[in-house]
Symmetry: C2
Subunit: 143 residues, 2 copies
DNA sequence: GCTCTAAATGAAAATTATTATCATTTATAT
DNA sequence: ATATAAATGATAATAATTTTCATTTAGAGC
């Protein structure tokens, strides 16, 4: 139930963005990969079909897509800077610290907690980030 | 109930690290500030008393302290790269997207969820990151 | 206290990630 | 087809982090 390429481009248009070949290419690349990819990885992938695209355009496109919540950002410990992937809607991540495998999971575990925080702090809460870090089965064996 | 300078240095020694004036300075700076600080901010602060310290040493010291869980890392949306602070133990963050204010909160909201994920995925879970992003009362008014 | 050595430091350069500028091109409304 | 605001990409600028390596030093052992 991942967002389709069609839905993504529709949303872009609806929000007044132009539909350029570059943007299509980035969307195509992200939609056709099951993995979370870094900006740079995505850039490499897009260049296979679209060698003239600029890295900056990839950054810009991802920025827009993330803001519209059409893709999701991934943090993860260490050297940070978020990774991205085509997104189903709100979900969280379970990340293998060794091999980088990412498992998405969803559910609304935080609604009560969020309400309590609002009440106690007066914050208006816009979102949250929940990620588990661990070691996948393969990497556990490989010890 | 934040970790004291004494406890932090004790833990460093226990783990076989040498106690240098530079490390003391970094620990002093972090322990004496109620806020979460970036590496650079901390560097500035330390230099007031210890003008000759190198930025690299600050990086290295924070790295060690974080690994020993004597300080905690903070991510936060946008431009990322983790911030740090002296740490009480495990807790989470509520961050104002406008002014950067950080409120710590604790509690074990995720134990059940964690158990379920272990069961279903076979992952061995080591930790997690939970952060809420929103707008503090002051910044709401300032709209 | 003095000696020795592995560990730590800091200057500098190298990497890496991200953002800003700006002249040129282009998607699309009319 | 035209006009125009938006988008692109080359390039430079900024920023955060890591690597290298020669020099210094904390602390263990005498
Ligand atoms: Mn995801
Ligand atoms: Mn904290
Ligand atoms: Zn793994
Ligand atoms: Zn605020």
């Amino acid at each position: 139930m991942r967002l389709s390429e069609k839905k993504i481009t529709a949303s872009l248009k609806r929000h007044g963005y132009k539909l350029t070949p570059q943007r299509r290419a980035v969307i195509g690349a992200i939609a056709s990969s099951p993995d979370h990819l870094t900006t740079t990885a995505l850039y490499q992938k897009v260049r296979q079909d679209h060698p003239a695209i600029g890295l900056v355009t990839v950054y810009r496109t991802l920025d827009i897509l993330a803001r519209l919540e059409l893709i999701c950002e991934l943090h993860a410990g260490g050297s940070c800077r978020s990774y991205t992937i085509a997104a189903p809607g709100h979900h969280h991540h379970l990340i293998c610290a060794d091999c980088g495998e990412v498992i998405d999971f969803s559910g609304h575990y935080l609604t009560e907690l969020e309400a309590r925080l609002c009440r106690e702090t007066g914050f208006e809460i816009e979102g949250h980030l929940l990620e588990f870090i661990g070691r996948c089965q393969d990497c556990q064996r490989a010890t």
